[in-house]
Symmetry: C2
Subunit: 126 residues, 2 copies
DNA sequence: CAGTATCCATAGTGATACTG
DNA sequence: CAGTATCACTATGGATACTG
C-alpha cells in the first residue's frame, strides 16, 4: 500500500508537491533573480548582487543554490584568479520568465492604485 | 527636500514599493485564495477554508484582510443567524488572476521535472 | 458561522566578518 | 571575487480553544 498521489497536481491540495514548487518560485528573491537573468546571458555573482538591490551574499548564495537544485539555473565556474562564477537560466528556468515578468509588471504597474486602497482602508479605521 | 521616488517602479530597487506589492501577491496563501475566487463569484469564509486545504481560520482571516486592504477583494456581510460573510474579487483582484493562474499552472505542470532535478542534484552530493 | 484570542515554533531572512 | 561562518531576530505561520 502506497500513498496515493493525485494524477493531476493541485495547488489547493495540502499534500501536493506543487505547493513546494510554488513556494520556491515565489520566495523573496527568486523573482528578482529571474528578472535579472531573463535576457538569458551568463551573469556573474557580483553583478547579481549589485542589481538585486539589498540582497546579502549569504541569501543570494542560498537562493541560487535552491534554484540550481530545482534545475532553474546552471552555475558555471571559471577557474581563475580572481575566481569567476556565472549563473544562467536553463530551458526550465526560461520557461518561468514569462509568468514572472507578468507578475512583476503587475506589481510595478499597480503600486499607486494599491497604495490608495490601503490609505482608504486605513482611514476608514477598520 | 523630499525623498525621490522613481517615476517607473522597479522591483530591483530596494526602496521601491512594488516590492511590498509583489510580496503580498506571492505570500503563502494569496495565490490559492485567488485561485478559488477566480470564477468571480461570492465565496463564503467556510468554503474558502475548505477549499484552501490546510489553512487555519486565523491565517485565512489575516490574508483576506490584507487582500481587502490592498483592494483585491470585497467583504460582504449578510446579517443573519448564523452569520454569513462572502468574499469576492474586485476588478483589481480579477486583473491578477491571469498572472497567478499562469504561475499555478507552471507549478503544477513542472512538479515531476523539478523533483527529478532535485534528486539528481542531491545524488551528486553537493 | 465567522471569526478572535492566545500561545508558540521556526523558517526565513539579515548584518557582518572572515576565507580560499 | 565568490562565497562561508556566525549570530541573531522577527515576521509569518500554526494549533487550539473560545465567542458574538
Amino acid at each position: 500500500m502506497t500513498i496515493q498521489q493525485s494524477a493531476q497536481p493541485d495547488i489547493l491540495n495540502a499534500n501536493c508537491p506543487s505547493r513546494t514548487v510554488l513556494r520556491h518560485i515565489t520566495d523573496r528573491w527568486t523573482p528578482m533573480i529571474v528578472t535579472v537573468l531573463t535576457p538569458r546571458r551568463q551573469v556573474r555573482f557580483k553583478e547579481l548582487r549589485e542589481r538585486v538591490q539589498g540582497i546579502s551574499p549569504k541569501v543570494l548564495t542560498e537562493t541560487l543554490r535552491s534554484m540550481e537544485r530545482d534545475g532553474l539555473v546552471t552555475r558555471v565556474v571559471t577557474a581563475s584568479v580572481p575566481p569567476r562564477v556565472d549563473y544562467e537560466l536553463t530551458d526550465l528556468g526560461m520557461s518561468i520568465t514569462r509568468p514572472i515578468a507578468a507578475l512583476r509588471r503587475w506589481a510595478e504597474g499597480h503600486v499607486t492604485e494599491i497604495e490608495e486602497h490601503r490609505q482608504a482602508y486605513d482611514n476608514a479605521l477598520h
